[in-house]
């Protein structure tokens, strides 16, 4: 196969890479492209419900174990039920707000990433 009359595939590769990288940077600065958003929403929808229940499960479990250990049945379980509900709602609130699932709030200037 004669190689000489073919254009060099590496010609201008660095420039093209730089251009592509630049394009990607501007796109992510614009706040993501539309193609990905459907997947994002789908994955978001799948997350929310479980998020609410999981905190409650953990809280009730912790309450039950502590009750058994301290012999205070059923009081700690009741207290942990309310704490767990609050934690679950907070999980959902954070997930929806796009704050990730961070325990701890962010300053306003870091918000609205997603």
């Amino acid at each position: 196969m004669p190689n000489s009359d073919k254009p060099d595939p590496l010609e201008g590769l660095a420039a093209r890479i730089a251009e592509a990288k630049g394009r990607r940077r501007t796109r992510s600065e614009e706040g993501g492209n539309r193609d990905e958003s459907t997947g994002r929403f789908m994955s978001m929808a799948m997350r929310i419900g479980v998020e609410l229940v999981a905190a409650l499960v953990v809280a009730m479990g912790a309450g039950w174990l502590l009750d058994r250990w301290l012999g205070t049945r059923p009081w700690l379980m009741i207290v942990f039920f309310f704490l767990g509900s609050a934690a679950g709602i907070m999980n959902v609130y954070r997930a929806v707000n796009g704050l990730g699932l961070a325990a701890g709030y962010k300053r306003p200037d870091e918000e609205g990433r997603e």
Partner: protein, 241 residues
């Protein structure tokens, strides 16, 4: 053919082993895990064997998987998070192959067992916590008390934050396991209807066709969700605001 919709999730021992009084038998679940690992290795090693400048189909798929996760880690966990990219990539490929291999008829879905998903989620949780502890030391515990909240609120906020933090591995594992199990059970139930209804079985059959497609979506989507949450937790551990 199994009689109950849940029988497809039954663990069967292929080779029995007992180590120190524990049942460590090689089961159908283990077999599928081994197949997943071998398939992932083959997929990536064969895909990158040629390393052609213009990739073929195979290499293209391997590169696509790599770049997809590399971008995800970079976007969600930042440049510092790229250090953990191999770990995240391993998790993604393992969960993805587990889900997709389970879609093969007569195969077994190891991600439909909460033991497996909880072990994965616990590993993510422990790793992320250790990363945070090593990077920030005792400052890590400020995680449980938001900056600027009144100190009088601490007795209320701290338990809630701790519960919220501890719920991570639970939500991570339940989501994956429940999605896989529910989907496969539904497929079986509609399959039974198809057989039982004879000619009219065409209706549940049509539902099953749609369900199969949906299950493929769920298989990939759940692997994606598992991975992106790992990235988000990693980001929290690295930044720790």
């Amino acid at each position: 053919m199994a009689e109950s919709p849940l029988e497809q999730f039954k663990i069967e021992r292929i080779a029995e082993f007992h180590i120190g009084g524990y049942d460590a038998s090689f089961t159908n679940s283990s077999l599928l895990m081994v197949i997943a690992v071998v398939a992932i290795t083959a997929f990536l090693v064969l895909g990158s064997a040629k390393s052609a400048l213009v990739p073929g189909r195979w290499q293209s798929m391997a590169e696509l998987a790599y770049e997809f996760i590399a971008n995800m880690v970079h976007e969600n966990a930042g440049t510092a998070g790229m250090k953990y990219f191999p770990w995240v990539f391993t998790i993604f490929m393992f969960v993805l192959f587990g889900n997709v291999l389970g879609m093969i008829p007569y195969s077994f879905t190891f991600t439909s067992h909460i033991v497996v998903t909880f072990a994965l989620a616990a590993m993510v949780f422990i790793t992320v916590t250790l990363v945070a502890l090593f990077r920030h030391g005792l400052h890590f515990f400020s995680f449980f008390f938001p900056h600027g909240a009144p100190v009088a609120m601490a007795p209320l906020i701290v338990p809630i934050e701790i519960l919220s933090y501890l719920s991570r591995p639970i939500s991570l594992s339940i989501r994956l396991f429940a999605n896989m199990m529910a989907g496969h059970t539904m497929l079986f139930v509609f399959g039974t209807f198809t057989v039982a209804l004879g000619v009219f079985g065409i209706a549940p059959f049509a539902v099953n066709v749609a369900l199969i497609l949906f299950e493929f979506l769920v298989a990939v989507l759940q692997a994606y969700v598992f991975t992106i949450l790992t990235c988000l937790y990693l980001k929290d551990a690295i930044e720790l605001h």
